[in-house]
């Protein structure tokens, strides 16, 4: 009788777990295995080639270009949207009546699809025929699309992604800032703190855990960068905007080197793992203090 009473909870958790395991875990493990093979995605024959994919990557200039571009992406994202987002959040904190109107306006680029945003910028901002660049050319400025130049293309791509991303940080920072105890703010005001001191010594320490969590998320996200580059330049001109995400994708679907794509995929995961490792370390340190 007793053993008849079955624990339904195992059945309830099964669907979520099953979907996740079959879509993410098993293909994830297969990626690790494929990275040691020369599989082309089609042939039934798969040869184990050891670490050759990795050795080839380490001799590949474009691979390092891609890593460098990912690092540029990290640096830009850890500075520009973090600062702009924080500035906007601090300014909104004091605007009780107009806060939500501004917030809605800021968020519109964030809620639009990357595909739409990219086409918007491509055609109406960067295009030398129909965009703002064209309008400036009509005024006599010697401009061309920043996406066409090998030097500026990566910054232009990152710029569009930042335009889309920073309002998200504003919302997150603002939500955290609003948790700051009112008595601390009041005490600081009485002491005669100016705006910067108020931010530096009262607000910032209070939202530090959110700020560092966002730092990690931005770092991980920067190594996953794909959408805007694929849509704006496709990795070009001449691989100038190639990042690990687009490089892996072109291995898998253009040059049919699935094994190599898997190896690049592992690198992306590896950088993400380092970032999460640092975060766990920091947060553990914080909780010990």
């Amino acid at each position: 009788m007793k053993t008849k009473k079955m624990n339904w909870n195992y059945l309830l958790i099964a669907p979520a777990l099953l979907i996740s395991v079959s879509i993410i875990l098993i293909p994830g493990i297969m990626t690790i295995l494929y990275s040691f093979t020369d599989w082309n995605g089609l042939s039934p024959k798969i040869n184990f080639i050891g670490v050759r994919n990795f050795i080839e990557l380490f001799q590949d200039k474009i691979f390092f270009r891609a890593i460098l571009n990912n690092v540029i992406w990290v640096v830009m994202f850890l500075t520009i949207p973090v600062c702009v987002g924080m500035l906007a959040a601090m300014l909104l904190l004091g605007r009780k009546k107009t806060r939500s109107i501004y917030q809605v306006g800021f968020l519109i680029p964030y809620i639009l699809a990357p595909a739409v945003n990219a086409m918007l910028w491509l055609n109406i901002m960067f295009s030398p025929i129909s965009g703002v660049v064209a309008a400036l050319r009509n005024l006599g400025l010697d401009l061309s699309s920043p996406l066409a130049s090998m030097k500026t293309a990566i910054y232009a791509c990152a710029g569009v992604d930042i335009w889309h991303y920073w309002p998200y940080l504003t919302v997150i920072y603002l939500a955290a800032l609003r948790q700051t105890p009112a008595d601390q703010v009041e005490a600081a005001r009485v002491e005669g703190c100016n705006a910067w001191q108020l931010f530096r010594y009262v607000y910032l320490p209070n939202i530090m855990s959110t700020v560092s969590l966002m730092f990690i998320m931005i770092t991980i996200g920067s190594f996953l960068a794909f959408d805007y580059i694929k849509l704006l330049t496709g990795g070009g001109p001449a691989h100038a905007t190639e990042v690990l995400g687009t490089y892996a994708y072109s291995f898998a679907f253009s040059s049919m080197k699935v094994g190599k794509a898997a190896a690049v995929g592992l690198f992306i995961s590896f950088f993400g793992l380092i970032a999460s490792g640092i975060y766990t370390r920091i947060s553990r340190k914080e909780s010990m203090e």
């Binding site: 309830l12 995605g41 968020l107 639009l112 959110t210 969590l213 959408d227 994708y249």
Partner: protein
Amino acid sequence: MAASSKSKKITSNVVVHVVLLLLAFICLAPIVLVVFNSFKENSEIVRNPLALPNILHLENYISAWTTGQFAKGFWNSIQLTGITIIIVLVCSTLAGYVLSGKRIKGSGGVLLYFMMAMTVPIQLFLFPLYYAFAKLNLIGNIPATSLILAAVQMPLAVFLMRTFFLNVPKELEEAARIDGASTAQVIWNVMRPVVSPGLITVGVLVGLQAWNEYLISSTFLQGEKNFTATLGFLSMNGSYGANMGLLMAAAVILIGPVIIFFLIMQKYFVDGMVSGAVKG
């Protein structure tokens, strides 16, 4: 003294609003430009992209709707998003309930697994999955693609739902149990009403991601008849690049519904974004 501090306050208020308005301008200017240009003819756009339209060329919209095949595209997008939301909500509610207490052995391990699954890059599982789906003839299949999107969204949704269940008072469930309620009854009659605002938040969050998703849907939804509205728009960009007015009208057709939906549901959007970020 009082007057000078008051005027100082006004100046600082003005500066704050100027900065905020400038930021709002940066966010909205490209979108406003698209709306302007969607009413123009191509030659007008090329002459001056920044000028206001002389005549409202509404025919841009009519031809954009048909050439972009938006009727089918929107229907596909709605299916893709709807199925994803349903899968995620059902599975994450059940899993969130189970994981909100020590109801099964190894719940800590499952939580750790979902934590890891949350930070996994798509490129770690995309390639084997694509070739497996190709073998099963699932490329271009909307429900199958929804399943992938659902799997990507699942970990975060599980954590969010778990948090909502943790906030349900223990006494509520215990009282129902004493009255002889089954697990199904507990979830449907006791828990569901309490967590339903959470369900909307998660639904909005997941729906937005699914609607906007690019990497997975462009990889798996091949074949024009399976294109979502976004993918249809992207393919237009390739073939109608010379007719900017048409493209801009298509962009507005795509943007419009999303912005309206966002304005109506903004509270849930913001809630979802904030709770999604804090949960790490």
